[in-house]
């Protein structure tokens, strides 16, 4: 197992194998989400589906710098975080379909996947709902004398919630090992963030004394390097930080959000998909560096496709929980 220290040096010491692993992880997130879209449109998946396609470099770049015992909290758009932190697609699909074999026995669903084995404290369907939880996990780490850290993922929509500023203030005062990762995908549901967000985003965190930085969220190498540095800093008791990852949501707020032209243009979407795609950016760089070629990417694609197909088949075939299960797990 790699340690935090050797990961923190990021790009200069990162091997081709690690970059290819990250490429594969991003492919996994994308193909997982494509399967979700398919399941949803075939009416096999109940509820809502918020896809992470386009934002893969954020979850993968950050989580690749984390250890298994580090914590994350996630959002309603959280499949990417769960996968990148190590969850397996079959149990995730099972959870999305409300099956007993799911991570939460089908009781959580798409927006609430949690998994202690991978340090996933849970996805949260309240915007900014997990900022306290992540900060509390960092408090535990510090108080119990461990060197693990907590990463709190949230979208830029969470910048509107007061509790975020309450906990950042405490994290700074108590010097907690927490990293707030703001995924700015430009749209809070159906509204451009500029209509809802005054001033400068990192400056909000800097005002509380957090180390605040911004990074190109489509460039997994940049995310990995910056997140690695901030996480290492937190691990060495350097205190909390705030990282804005500028990214883009390729699809609608949820799968049913088809007609989006009243809030953004098709040209804008096309630009991000063709010019700023995180998978393509990494693949192009790997080829240019002579670290990989297109046959490797094709092989990864077909391997992950097969893995996802198998995982979906597992979930579709899996049984629903018994109705008697409804009253279980209310209290520990």
């Amino acid at each position: 197992m790699t340690t935090a220290t050797d990961k923190s040096a990021a790009n200069s010491e990162t091997t081709a194998g690690q970059w290819i692993r990250m490429y594969r992880q991003m492919v996994s997130v994308r193909l997982f989400e494509e399967q979700v879209n398919e399941l949803y449109t075939r009416a096999l998946m109940p509820g809502l589906a918020h896809l992470y396609i386009g934002e893969e470099a954020v979850a993968v770049g950050v989580c690749e710098t984390l250890r298994a015992d580090d914590y994350i909290t996630s959002t309603h758009r959280g499949h990417g975080h769960c996968l990148a932190k190590g969850a397996s697609p079959d149990r995730m699909f099972a959870e999305l379909l409300g099956k007993e074999a799911g991570y939460c026995k089908g009781k959580g669903g798409s927006m609430h996947i949690a998994d202690p084995a991978t340090g996933n404290l849970g996805a949260n369907a309240i915007v900014a709902g997990s900022v306290g939880i992540a900060t509390g996990a960092a408090l535990s780490a510090k108080r119990l004398g461990k060197d693990n850290v907590a990463v709190c993922f949230f979208g830029e929509g969470a910048l509107g919630q007061g509790v975020l500023y309450e906990v950042m203030n405490v994290a700074s005062l108590w010097k907690l090992p927490v990293i707030y990762v703001c995924e700015n995908n430009l749209y809070t549901e159906y509204t451009h963030f500029s209509e809802t967000t005054a001033g400068d985003i990192p400056a909000r965190a800097a005002a509380f004394g957090l180390q605040a930085e911004s990074v190109d969220g489509q460039d997994v190498r940049a995310v990995y390097a910056t997140a690695g540095r901030l996480i290492d800093r937190a691990r060495r008791e350097g205190g909390p930080s705030f990282l804005v990852c500028n990214t883009y949501r390729y699809t609608g707020h949820h799968v049913g959000d088809i007609n989006r032209e009243y809030y953004r243009s098709k040209e804008e979407e096309k630009h991000w998909k063709t010019e700023r795609d995180p998978l393509k950016l990494l693949a192009d760089w790997l080829v240019a560096q002579g670290l990989a070629d297109s046959t490797q990417f094709k092989r990864i694609q077909s391997e992950v496709e097969a893995e996802m197909k198998k995982a979906v088949e597992f979930a579709v075939a899996a049984p629903y929980p018994s109705v008697s299960e409804a009253g279980e797990d209310v209290y520990a």
């Binding site: 914590y71 909290t73 799911g102 991570y103 939460c104 026995k105 089908g106 009781k107 959580g108 609430h112 949690a114 998994d115 202690p116 404290l121 849970g122 949260n124 309240i126 709902g129 997990s130 900022v131 306290g132 939880i133 992540a134 900060t135 509390g136 996990a137 960092a138 408090l139 535990s140 780490a141 108080r143 119990l144 907590a150 007061g162 509790v163 309450e166 906990v167 203030n169 405490v170 005062l173 108590w174 279980e328 797990d329 209310v330 209290y331 520990a332």
Partner: protein, 332 residues
């Protein structure tokens, strides 16, 4: 025979003793809230704890109820056993998302994977001339939410034994203390270790003609009313459920069956309040043994006024309970 050493403690001293004993027993137990350390809270209930346990375990927070309650949820999930102090029960409104959407649901949504062993201590009660935002009794709100346990001690003995149980519980527990009792109510508390299980009502006075079910601040009122009734030859039984959830339905129903008349008295609002729930439980469970409708007595359905004569009119008194009991028994 082992002689039980019993002293008289105030309600506040009993609370403090429970906290100190549990903090000595379990190093994971910590307290946070506003002015909890050197100040020992405005009610001085926590005086001396920071001197014994240090600022690592008794942490003053900013005035950020949502923030530090959320931090407690995350800390509880990851190895600490936090006790948050919400100075006035009115301020629980600021913690609602953290308690209702996070603390109460984490265990269930994760299919039992995560637990939230935390305690929220807060206050209730009017007649302190504190105005509408520092006088409410809002325990019904949390009693409505599955996943939470709600405790309402009425004596120093119960406060100590129930608080120790709350701290050892694996679930989020909300512990309501009547702030008027902190210094004014004294009672016997053994020196030996003891705990009181949740969901076990306590018959505070055995009677024959009518049952007075009373909670927290209203237990002393009911006992006073029972004294007045005794002078007129009526025998009242006083039953204290002690925990709103879990609720000891069996003891309530048995007492109602025995006496055939019941008044439920609670300082929360009568409309949609815990009196309504308890009255319904009794009506459903003892219908064929009742000789009168179950009567509710709670706070008037108005914001708590400041002016003393107005404020005093908002809550049930010994006299008003006495009069309602006489009427219910056909004596008035």
């Amino acid at each position: 025979m082992l002689e039980t050493l019993t002293r008289e403690l105030t309600f506040g001293q009993a609370v403090r003793e429970a906290l100190a004993e549990e903090m000595r027993r379990d190093p994971r137990v910590c307290i946070f809230g506003e002015d909890v350390a050197e100040a020992g809270t405005p009610f001085k209930v926590l005086s001396g704890l920071v001197e014994e346990f240090g600022t690592e375990r008794v942490l003053d927070t900013p005035i950020s109820e949502a923030g530090f309650t959320g931090i407690a949820v995350g800390a509880a999930m990851t190895g600490l056993r936090p006790i948050v102090d919400i100075m006035f029960g009115d301020f629980i409104t600021l913690t609602m998302d953290q308690m209702v959407n996070q603390a109460a649901k984490v265990h269930y949504m994760s299919g039992g994977a995560w637990k939230v062993p935390m305690v929220m201590r807060t206050t209730l009660g009017a007649t302190r001339r504190s105005g509408a935002q520092h006088s409410q009794s809002l325990h019904a709100w949390f009693s409505h939410v599955p996943g939470l346990k709600v405790v309402m001690p009425s004596t120093p003995y119960d406060a100590k034994g129930l608080l120790k149980t709350a701290i050892r519980d694996e679930n989020p527990v909300v512990f309501f203390e009547d702030k008027m009792m902190y210094t004014k109510l004294k009672g016997p508390v053994p020196t030996e270790e003891y705990t009181i299980p949740f969901g076990v009502a306590d018959v505070k006075r055995v009677g024959r003609d009518i049952t007075l079910v009373a909670t927290s601040s209203m237990v002393q009122v009911a006992l006073g009313a029972a004294d007045l009734l005794e002078e007129t030859g009526m025998s009242a039984e006083v039953v204290d459920p002690r925990t709103m959830w879990p609720l000891d339905e069996k003891t309530l129903i048995e007492s109602a069956k025995k006496t055939s008349r019941v008044i439920v008295i609670d300082e929360g609002y009568e409309r949609y309040g815990v009196t309504a729930e308890i009255a319904a439980v009794i009506a459903e469970g003892a219908f064929y043994n009742l000789d009168a409708p179950v009567k509710r007595m709670g706070a008037m359905h108005i914001p708590i006024p400041f002016s003393p004569p107005l404020e005093d009119a908002t809550v049930p008194t010994e006299k008003s309970v006495f009069e309602v009991a006489r009427k219910l028994c056909g004596q008035a």
